[in-house]
């Protein structure tokens, strides 16, 4: 697949297309898990990957990601899930608590701080995954079909939440979906990918 794309700061870019067209692969390239065979990826002017080599590792790109399977750590509480990355960054405990409390309140899941992921509903877990990405205050947020496993009502509700949060926090978003309605509601720009 030949591809060329610029993502502007603050925009909400949707990658839309059928299964197998390469949307997730593209997102994983942005995250730094996969390198492009040829060409380069630049993040804020710095070459992050080029011609099959990853030059800036995922941990150094300062991007947040919400995975399709959410990837919440079952052995940590909700608070622990959010704190893990902040601790690794060396933030003092007071600052960590402040950020986590703020983010949990924003996502309306503050009462679940001491719970474990399996104790929460699908929609609540989805919010936790989003909170975990946002608490790191990333340059941009990558979301890989985060609502695909939810029922229609919950899907609609959380779509609205994502739009609300983006308007409040003004983060750059790259969102992968195969749902036309999701793409139209969430994206300020839609990139349509077709199967090669």
């Amino acid at each position: 697949m030949d591809f060329s794309l610029s993502i502007e700061k603050g925009e909400s870019l949707v990658l839309f297309g059928p299964s197998g067209c390469g949307k997730t692969t593209l997102l994983r390239m942005l995250a730094g898990f996969v390198a492009p065979d040829a060409g380069s990826i630049l993040i804020q002017g710095k070459i992050a990957a080029r011609d099959g080599k990853i030059l800036i590792l995922p941990e150094a790109r300062n991007l947040g990601m919400v995975f399709q399977d959410l990837a919440l750590w079952p052995h940590l509480t909700i608070y622990g899930n959010l704190e893990f990355g902040l601790k690794a960054r060396g933030l003092p405990a007071v600052e960590r608590r402040r950020r986590i409390d703020e983010t949990l309140k924003l996502l309306k899941i503050d009462r679940y701080a001491a719970a474990k992921p399996h104790q929460l509903s699908g929609g609540e877990q989805q919010r936790v995954a989003l909170a975990r990405a946002l608490v790191m205050q990333p340059l941009g947020l990558l979301m890989d079909e985060p609502l695909s496993s939810l029922d229609e009502d919950l899907n609609l509700h959380l779509r609205g939440e994502i739009v609300r949060l983006r308007q409040a926090l003004k983060f750059t978003l790259v969102y992968v979906t195969h749902s036309r309605s999701e793409a139209e509601e969430i994206g300020t720009r839609i990139v349509i990918l077709k199967k090669p």
Binding site: A60, Q68, W73
Partner: protein
């Protein structure tokens, strides 16, 4: 170079260095005579009728055991892993017991059961029964004992593969066919890699088995290797006797790699992935269960009862503890140290293979299997050649060499257990931490290890049991004054009281069961499955 990559390289270097050096030493010693390249040792060996006889006996014995394991073990595995027969999990536990016990201890147990003055002789033949003894001290008897020791490997692997079959495939077939047809056309082809791997492992382990043939006086290559070294101290001849076994193991691993298309095979120890579809046996289930219990009683429980019965004399235990307590403590200590080292190295190797962290990950995977399949006498002889120098005497003359031998032989166990555990964890678990900026070490400590901690404990336990029961490496490399219990039992067998020997054998079994019991208890308290 990142820390992750450095650790990968270090792990690979340790595996290749420690693992291949004994093999290289074996071939070097057998190919160089008086400093010159020579095939004399090989040509003497190959032209000798004794070598041909040894080869025939070794291959026949290994072939017999493999044949029995497949013919009996496969239907047993299907019954235990696929049907709704009552008491399945208990039966699996009982049939697995022999894996906890050193093979030659089981030979001792069978001797106390079928020997001329064994339990059967006392019950049935008025105290003197030649037929049982004649059978036991034959290739057939030796094969039977080794079958009871190694069949559980095929059983466990086959059951693991049965549990991994997608139930939807069988459900789809059930719409149009009956179970015999589904088993033969759907299930068996899907689990064939597990059966072949199990059969191959059993063949190679039998080829390298040393304790049982030595006890039952069947001369095979590993026994010849041991005799050449320990009786004649002819290192070159011992190496030459070990080389064919090493070659056969190499060829077998190459064939396994080709046939199984170089897929990694995951074995999960513990609950299956799901109930799957069970074959309903109806009323036949109870009769089959009774038959299986009878079979389990005959091949597992009776020999152990004979051993227990022989050891049921208080004086025997007193003498056993007087003569063996230091070896008991040493065995536990060495096994625990080796198991701990293996858990770390095996975890790192399993992780490396799982993420394909180095280009040589396939080679490393194959190497661990090869080292497990290599006869312990080959590894032992090779290690002596590698470490028996003045500047490495601190290793050679200390228990370090014993522990190194265990690490080399059993590396595959924690590696494969880790691999199976990691394959159940979505990659996104680690990626989510990575994208948050968490370093590799913190991801390992904070995410990966906690998620697989139960499997690491299982790996430790499996390694502990295998190290505890090891005979071949222990007998060849143990420094004087540091003999583990398996060696002490063998040494005392020559002129020790049978009751005392039986007591020592039972204590070895108890040592294996103690950590198993502790972990079961902890698991029950924590609600582990």
């Amino acid at each position: 170079m990142s820390l992750r990559r450095s650790i990968f390289w270090l792990t690979a270097a340790l595996l290749i260095g420690l693992g291949l050096s004994p093999l290289a030493e074996i071939f070097a010693q057998s190919l160089f005579v008086n400093g010159r390249l020579s095939l004399d040792l090989f040509s003497n060996m190959l032209s000798s009728s004794q070598t041909r006889h040894l080869l025939m006996t070794s291959l026949s014995l290994a072939g017999l055991v493999t044949f029995l394991s497949v013919m009996i073990g496969l239907p047993l595995s299907i019954l235990l892993g696929k049907s709704d027969m009552p008491g399945r999990s208990w039966l699996i536990t009982v049939f697995t017991l022999p894996l906890l016990i050193p093979p030659y201890v089981q030979a001792v147990a069978w001797f106390h059961l079928l020997g001329r003055q064994g339990l059967v002789a006392r019950w049935v033949a008025g105290g003197d029964w030649k037929a049982g003894s004649n059978f036991l001290f034959s290739v057939g008897g030796c094969g039977w004992v080794m079958f009871t020791c190694y069949m559980p490997i095929l059983m466990l692997l086959t059951i693991a593969f049965i549990r991994s079959v997608n139930p939807r495939l069988e459900e789809a077939a059930l719409l149009t066919a009956t179970w015999p047809r589904i088993l033969s056309r759907i299930t068996l082809p899907l689990i064939l890699p597990g059966i072949i791997l199990g059969a191959l492992l059993i063949f190679l382990l039998d080829l390298g088995e040393f304790g049982v043939p030595l006890f039952l006086r069947i001369n095979v290559f590993p026994v010849e290797t041991f005799t050449q070294f320990s009786a004649y101290y002819d290192f070159g001849a011992a190496a030459a006797a070990a080389a064919p076994l090493a070659l056969i193991a190499l060829m077998a691993m190459f064939a396994e790699g080709l046939f199984l298309e170089r897929k990694t095979v995951h074995v999960r120890i513990g609950p299956g992935d799901g109930p799957g579809i069970r074959i309903g046996l109806g009323k036949l289930g109870k009769w089959l269960a009774a038959l299986m219990w009878f079979f389990a009683f005959a091949i597992v429980i009776m020999p152990l009862l004979a051993l227990l019965s022989e050891s049921a004399v208080i004086q025997a235990w007193r003498t056993a503890m007087t003569q063996g307590w230091d070896s008991v403590l040493r065995s536990m200590f060495f096994a625990a140290i080796a198991a701990s080292l293996l858990s770390v190295l095996g975890f790192l190797t399993g992780y490396l293979i799982h993420v394909q962290g180095l280009g040589s990950w396939r080679l490393l995977d194959t190497l661990t299997i090869l080292l497990f399949a290599l006869p312990s006498t080959v590894i032992g002889i090779g290690m002596i050649g590698v470490w028996n120098h003045p500047f490495t005497n601190f290793v050679y003359a200390s228990p370090i060499i014993l522990i190194l031998g265990y690490v080399i032989q059993y590396w595959v166990l924690p590696s494969r257990i880790t691999l199976a555990a990691l394959s159940r964890i979505p990659a996104s678990m680690e990626e989510a931490a990575q994208v948050m900026g968490v370093s590799w070490i913190r991801r390992m400590a904070g995410i990966i290890v906690p998620l697989v901690r139960r499997d690491i404990i299982v790996a430790w336990l499996v390694c502990y049991i295998f190290c505890l029961r090891d005979t071949g490496i222990s007998m060849l490399v143990y420094p004087p004054g540091t003999d583990p219990l398996t060696v002490r039992i063998f040494t005392l067998m020559a002129n020790g009281e049978p009751a005392m020997i039986a007591a020592l054998c039972v204590s070895l079994i108890i040592l294996s069961l103690i950590p198993l019991g502790i972990i079961q208890w902890i698991g029950m308290r924590k609600g582990w499955a």
